[in-house]
Subunit: 297 residues, 4 copies
C-alpha cells in the first residue's frame, strides 16, 4: 500500500434536512472513478468527520467501498480523541475493506499533547490496527503540529507507513522527508504547496482541492514525475488562488459550493457550518472562471 | 437557576483498565457534598468529556445525580461539534434532572468559527433546549474565543443565562460583564483570576482547581461577598501556584494526581493522556505542601 | 523614588511638518500639573520613542523637566536594543534630573531573547545606571514577555525598583507581584485592567489613557486606596471602552486625536504613523461622548 | 540592478570590547570575493543593524565598498522605524555607491502596521530614494508580514524592484511571485526553503547561511538554473540542518561561531546578544562535521 499520487478527501453529501445523501456520494465517486486520482479518503476533515456519528461514518465507508473502482486505493479517516476509540474505528474500517487509516493527532488537550503522549498514542494504534496507519498532522484545525523528530521516531514502526502533512510549512515537510526512512510516504495536505513539496520528495497529495479540480492536481503531479518543471510551476500558479479561496478561506462550505458549480454534488454542510454566502459565492465563481479561462487558452 | 458561587467541573474516575469507576465518582461527590460548593459540572473539559462516549456520559450523569445533595446545582457539559448532537445531549441531560447545560463552542473548523456561525449555533441550541444554556468559551482547548459583542447578543435569548469564560483574560471578562444585561451570569473558568474577576462582577467560578481545593476557592468567594478584600487577595495569591501547576501545566493528569494525594479518588486519565510522571508529581507535591503549610499557619 | 499612583506616558507633540513642537509639550504639561497625576513618563512607547532621534529625545526631556511641577516624579524611557546605548541614554536622563529610567526589553532578535540574555542586559544596565531602573515588558509591541521568575530574580538588584507590566495579563501581573520582594513596585501598563491589578497589589499605573482622561484614572486609583470598591468597579467599567478604542485599537494616532478633542495638544503622529481617519475619529468621538455623559450624570 | 543569485547579509565583526573590527570585515569580504556570491548586503538583520549607530553603519558601508570586488552587487540595509530616517539613510548609502537599499517594514507599533500605513511608508521612501528599493518582510523579527496584494501594489512603483521575503512561508512567496509583475525580483530570505522558492520563480536568496556556506548555497542556485533537480534537492536536504541550527536556532551568535570555525572572522555579537554557549557550540560543530563529511564523500 503506497499512497502515491493524488487523493481527494471526499466531502460527505447531505440532504437539505442534514441527513446523509448516500446516493449523491455514489454519483460523485462514479465521476471521480473516471479521473487519474489514485484513490479516495473517506471521513477526513473535509468529510466533516467531526459532525458525523460513527454509525453514519460506517455507512459512508460502505457506500464508497461499493462505488469505488477496484484500482482506487481507499483510505479511512479513523482518528478520535481517545486512543481506544481510534483503534476500534480503525479496525472497523479494515473490516470494510479499507487499505489504510488516516489518524489525526488528538488535540483537545493541546497543552498536554507532548511528543511523548502523541508517540504513545500512535504506537498503540499502530500495534493494534489491522491495516497500515498514515499519521495526520493538521495544525490549522487541531492546534497541534508533529515535528520531524517525532515523525522519524514513529516511522520506525512497521505499521506506520506515512504521514499526511497539512501544516502548509514546506520547511517542515522537507525536514520530515529528510528525517524519515526512504520507504516512508510523506503526503502533502494542501494544494497551495503541492509542487514545492513534490520537488522535495513528497509522495503525493491528499488535497481538498482535488475534490473540485482533480484533473489539474493530477496534471501537476504527472508533470513533476515527467520532469516537466515549467509546466508544473505554471499549474501550481494556477492552483494558488483556488487552494486559498475554495479550500482554506471558505472551508468545506466553499468547496461544496464549488462542487455544485462543477457538476458534482456539493450540497449544504452540516450545522454549525453554514452554506457559502453571497459574497463567498461571488468570489468562488470568479476563481472558477479564471481556472476555466486558463484551461480554454 | 443562578450559577453563583463555586462549582468544580468534576473529574471522571477511571479504573486502571480505563473503564468508568462510577463508585469512585459517588465517593468523591459524597465528600464534595460536605463543602460549600454551589454545585457540580459533569462532563466538562476536566471530566475528559472528549474521551467518553455519550453512553458513558449518561451513566456519569445518572450516578452524579443520585449522589449529589439536593441543594447542589447540577450542570451538564453537553457541547459537541454538531448543532444537532448538542441539542440531543442537552435534552438528555434535562431528562436526567440537570438544571443547566454548559455548551462549549464548536471548534474543529477554527477558521470558519465566525461570530455569525457561533451565534446561529447557540441560538438554535437555546431554542431547542429544555433547560437553560451556559455558553462556554475555552480558547486554550478550542482555539476559539467568544468576544463581548457576540456574548451580549446571545445574552438577549431568554434561555441563555450565562457564560463560563475560561480565556484567563480579565479584560475580556470585564468587557463581557459590561456588555451583557444585568441578570446574565458571567462565571470565570480559572482559579488564577478568580478574585480579579469577582471584583469586576463575575457571579462565581467553575474551577478545575475546586476539585482539589474546594474550601480555599469557596473561602475566596465568600471573602469577596463579605467585602474582606485583604483576605481575598491573600487567598488568591495562595491559589496562583496551584492553579498554574495542577490545573494548567499538568492538566487533568496533574489534577487527578493531586486528588489522590488529598483524599479524593483521582486515578489515571484515559489515553492518550498519561498519568503525571515523576517530575510532575514532585512539583505537585511541593505545591500542595505549600498550601498545607499556609493553612496550618 | 516610588512610582505609586498614576503616570501618563506623555505623547510627543509634532508640528504639521513632523518637527518637534516643544511649546505644545510645555502647554500640555502645564495642564497635567493641575491634576492628581503622580508624575510623567517622557519618551515611552506612547511618546513615539522609536520615531525620535536621541538628540530630539534630549530636547523633550529638558523641556518636560522645566515644565513639570516639582512634586511630579519624572521618569525617562531609555531602552534601546543595545545594552551600551541603553546605559548611555539612562545616564543622560539622570544628568537631566530624571528620577528613574523605564527600560523596555530589547526585542528585535525575538527568538534569542531568552531569560538569560534579558537578565544579563538588565543587570548590566542597573549596575551602570545612576538612577533606579523600572523594567518594561510590553509584548504587544515587542513580542517579548518577561515572566515572573525572571522579574523576581532581577528584583533582587538594589537598583531595579519595579516593573511596568503592559502584557494586559492579570494572572501574570499577579504572579509578578507574588514573586517579587515586598518593596518592588509593580505598575500596570494598561487602563483596561487597572482595578483588577490594583486589588492584586499593583502600586499604580503608567497608562496611555491617562494622557486623555487623567482625572478618571486618578479617581479609580484613589477609590481603591479608600476601599471604595463599588466606585472603583464603576469607574473601571467606564474606562473599558476608552482604553480599548483610544489607546489600543487606534494607537498613538487615536490618542492624539482624543487629546485634540479634550483641550490638550495632540497633533499628528510621525510617519509612518498616520492621523486617525474619518471612521476612527467617529468612533473616538462616540466614546468620548459616553464618558462625558457619565461624568455629567 | 537585478538581485539574482545568492547574497549573504554580512555579519558585522566586533572586537572583544564590542567596538567595530573593520579590518576583520575587510578580510571576510576578501574571502567572499573569491566565491560565486552575487554580492553582499551590509547592515541587514544578520549584521546586527539594530545594535549599531548610524555613524557606525556608515563606516561599515564605506569599508565594504572598498573591499568588495567590482562585480559584486552591494545592497545596504537602510530601514528604520521612521519614514524620514529611512529616506535619509537610504540616500547616504546611495552616496557611498550602494546599488540598492533593503528596507524592512517598520514594526514597533505592530497593531497599527496596516497595509495602508506600510504602503504609504514604502511609496514615500521609493519616491525619495536615489537608488532602487528592495522591500524586506521578516516577521520572525518584526512580527509584521507583507501579504501578496500589498507587495503587488508596491511593485508598480518604478523604484521598487523586488522583495526579500523572509517569512519562510513558501505559499506566501509563491503568491507574491504570482501577483507581482514579471520584472519584479522576489528573493527568498532563508536557506531552508531556497530550492522550493527557486522552483516557484524566486530570483535568488539573501541568506544568513551564505555567510558560512557560500559555496553550497551557490551550488544549489546553479543546479536549479541548470535544471539539475536531483542535485538541487540533495543540496537542499544538506542545507536543512545548518539553516535551522546555525541561522535560526542560535541566531547571529551561532552564525558567528560557525564563521570562526570555517576560517572567517565571526567574533562575539554585541550585547545584549551573547556568544554561543557550550551546548550551542557542540550542536553547531556536529552540524558542520556532517556538512564536511558530505562534501568529502
Amino acid at each position: 500500500m503506497k499512497p502515491t499520487g493524488i487523493f481527494p478527501p471526499l466531502t460527505t453529501p447531505f440532504a437539505p434536512d442534514g441527513s446523509l445523501a448516500l446516493d449523491r456520494l455514489r454519483d460523485n465517486v462514479a465521476k471521480y472513478n473516471r479521473t487519474g486520482l489514485a484513490g479516495y479518503v473517506l471521513n477526513g476533515s473535509t468529510g466533516e468527520s467531526v459532525l458525523l456519528s460513527w454509525a453514519e461514518v460506517e455507512r459512508v465507508w460502505a457506500v464508497a467501498r461499493e462505488a469505488a473502482s477496484p484500482e482506487k486505493i481507499l483510505i479511512a479517516g479513523t482518528g478520535a480523541e481517545s486512543t481506544a476509540e481510534t483503534i476500534e474505528q480503525t479496525n472497523r474500517a479494515a473490516k470494510l475493506g479499507y487499505r489504510a487509516a488516516l489518524v489525526r493527532t488528538p488535540s483537545y488537550f493541546k497543552p498536554q499533547m507532548t511528543a511523548e503522549i502523541l508517540a504513545e498514542h500512535f504506537l498503540r494504534v499502530a500495534d493494534a490496527a489491522r491495516i497500515p496507519i498514515l499519521l495526520y498532522s493538521v495544525p490549522v484545525y487541531t492546534g497541534v503540529a508533529m515535528e520531524a523528530p517525532l515523525v522519524a521516531r514513529l516511522a520506525q514502526h512497521p505499521n506506520i507507513i506515512g504521514i499526511k502533512e497539512s501544516s502548509g510549512n514546506v520547511q517542515r515537510i522537507s525536514e520530515v522527508i529528510a528525517a524519515a526512512p526512504p520507504g516512508f510516504q510523506t503526503v502533502v495536505g494542501g494544494a497551495a504547496t503541492l509542487y514545492p513539496s513534490l520537488v522535495m520528495g513528497a509522495a503525493g497529495g491528499i488535497l481538498a482541492l482535488a475534490c473540485a479540480l482533480p484533473d489539474l492536481c493530477v496534471e501537476l503531479y504527472d508533470a513533476v514525475q515527467a520532469g516537466a518543471h515549467e509546466r508544473a510551476r505554471a499549474v501550481q500558479q494556477q492552483l494558488l488562488a483556488p487552494a486559498s479561496i475554495l479550500a482554506s478561506k471558505y472551508g468545506v462550505a466553499g468547496l461544496k459550493y464549488a462542487l455544485d458549480r462543477l457538476g458534482y454534488y456539493g450540497g449544504p454542510p452540516r450545522r454549525p457550518l453554514l452554506p457559502a454566502d453571497e459574497s463567498a459565492r461571488r468570489e468562488i465563481d470568479a476563481v472558477l472562471a479564471t481556472v476555466a479561462a486558463a484551461a480554454a487558452s
